[in-house]
Symmetry: C2
Subunit: 127 residues, 2 copies
Amino acid sequence: MVQPAAPLDLTFQALADPTRRAMVERLSRGPASVSMLAKPLSMTLSAVVQHLAILEASGLVTSEKVGRVRTCRVEPRALDSAERWISERRASWERRFDRLDALLAETDPATRPRTSKPLTSKSKRSR
Amino acid sequence: MVQPAAPLDLTFQALADPTRRAMVERLSRGPASVSMLAKPLSMTLSAVVQHLAILEASGLVTSEKVGRVRTCRVEPRALDSAERWISERRASWERRFDRLDALLAETDPATRPRTSKPLTSKSKRSR
């Protein structure tokens, strides 16, 4: 059953835009004001603020206004669930390929994978 | 400067939806026909096909029609760039925190981080 909205939706959605990734990349190197964030981007400050709102909604970025300056920071832990989701898929694929390897080794000893024991007859593979 | 459309945009966009993540999760365990993919999802086959099109455009999934059955497979390498992007951000944060740790250790020996040598006076920290 499909869940409605989930934090992962917001994380991946936030990362699906090159401007927002550029902002996260910049903030990964240290906090920055909104105008510092906007400087290398060829867009209006208001467009940058909109992207910032999406990043904040996803939890990837936090910001705090002191006086007239809003300072933005990355939230390092916010990428954890996205990273975990990807690595779980990888683990799932690898288990499947291991099973396929094992199946191949069972059905045809000549196609034994790298992870299996050495062939009893070495000449078989070199032919 | 912001790039226009990039493969990473399509990957993260594809993953930003719970139905599409469920489809990738299912396919990570092995190939499946479109109707097998649709079975646990509470939506029409045509909605599933639309999600499948987005997954195929992102390169995460491939499909092949033989006779009347379209079989879908995950493309394990397609998540590599997304995984790399996240781990690069993590590396960038960690380098920055290492530099902050080093700076703290230089400016005030009492606040030396866990990675530095033990304090010369142990009572200093426990007070």
